[in-house]
């Protein structure tokens, strides 16, 4: 060996590797929905308290992402979509991710409790517990209903934002929760339709793996139809209004149409155009959620100016 430079595949993780552990894309959705939950609430927090609350809700979500990556490192290594995550890529040691996730979980819950109230901190702690223990450790590997129940973890942030501002849970907070909860299954099943090979290889019992794609297509339309009344109901609460209702009606029409198109297709058609429709519906579902919360934000602004 003539080369004097030592190349080590597992070396010092950089700051960016730890940022990747926090799942920044998921975090951005958490920040947005929690922020909306806080802004549309009838009570308002002072600016530094509000900033602190959002920061630590986001870090709490990030911490649960790091703990999820620690637990699911074996699955992530097999799946193409996740193979480049810091642990399977050998950039971060599993123990480092575990310590990072635990420390950040405790810090974020404590800081949210100190900045706002104990109920908000308790909800954040429960969300982390639910995502890491109930979803990642238990449901994900044991039932095809994994994302149906596990979706609750992603649905809590707007409720936490609301509780941070008001100190209590209300119908509006529950409906914001229900909107994300009911949206999660069709969103992830649309993804699973064109990422099936990944889940199959990792032996994750997604609906597409256990019951086949035909059943999954039927489930997508069923859950999309169940999502419609939930999303519209929010428009009739004090945080809704005409802007929200019109936006929601249009988005629901689009989502149902996409789900019907998915239902009408079979595997042959999907493979022929490389899951074009399924990919479109998946992307549309992201806009669906973003625009619903955006409409709530518009309603809050209109009320503020009125």
């Amino acid at each position: 060996m003539t080369d004097t430079q030592i190349e080590s595949p597992v070396s010092e993780p950089g700051a960016s590797d730890f940022v990747q552990l926090l799942k920044p894309r998921v975090m951005s959705l958490v920040v947005f929905t929690a922020l909306v939950g806080m802004i549309v609430a009838p009570a308002h927090l002072p600016p530094v308290t509000a900033f602190t609350a959002i920061l630590f809700i986001a870090l709490g979500a990030g911490a649960s992402g790091a703990l999820n990556m620690w637990w699911d490192a074996d699955i992530d290594a097999v799946m193409k979509r996740t193979a480049r995550r810091p642990i399977p890529a050998g950039k971060v040691q599993p123990g480092e991710a575990l310590g990072f996730g635990l420390a950040l979980s405790v810090a974020s819950v404590l800081m949210l409790g100190l900045a706002t109230n104990l109920l908000a901190a308790g909800l954040l702690a429960f969300t982390i517990f639910f995502y890491v223990v109930v979803y990642s450790m238990w449901l994900k590997r044991s039932t095809p209903q994994n994302i149906v129940i596990g979706g609750a973890a992603g649905a809590f942030p707007p409720m936490i934002g609301w509780v941070a501002a008001t100190g209590s849970v209300s119908v509006e907070a529950w409906l914001m929760f229900a909107l994300i909860f009911m949206w999660t299954p069709p969103h992830f099943w649309a993804l699973a339709l064109f990422m099936n090979a990944d889940y199959d290889a990792a032996r994750v019992p997604m609906l597409t793996v256990t019951h086949g794609k035909k059943v999954t297509r039927r489930h997508i339309i069923a859950y999309t139809l169940l999502l419609v009344p939930v999303s519209l109901a929010l428009g009739f609460t004090p945080i809704g209004g005409m802007v929200y209702l019109v936006t929601s009606a249009l988005l629901n029409a689009g989502f149902v149409l996409g789900a019907v198109m998915i239902l009408r297709r079979d595997e042959e058609m999907a493979q022929a155009d490389k899951y074009k429709v399924e990919k479109k519906v998946f992307t549309f579902s992201l806009a669906y959620l973003f625009l619903h919360f955006g409409a709530l934000l518009v309603e809050a602004s209109l009320r503020a100016f009125a």
Partner: protein
């Protein structure tokens, strides 16, 4: 090896990580300070100075009620 410039990938990564840990801790200190200031100044801070919103102890009330110069 120069003192400030890391000359190896490992050193570069370690430096970047330490820098971010330092910045995060600094940010946390600033945030805690700002949060404390906001918490203790919530409401109208001048109320305390004006003596409004506080129950005045009986002995203080008696002192305030005394005419100027009395008791000298």
């Amino acid at each position: 090896m120069s003192f400030f410039k890391p000359d190896h990938e490992i050193h570069r990564r370690r430096y970047s990580r330490n820098l971010w840990v330092g910045l995060a801790l600094g940010g946390f200190v600033l945030l805690s300070f700002a949060l404390t200031v906001e918490k203790v100044t919530q409401g109208d801070p001048m109320k305390a100075i004006r003596g409004e919103g506080h129950a005045v102890a009986p002995e203080d009330a008696a002192l305030q009620a005394k005419p100027e110069g009395a008791g000298n």
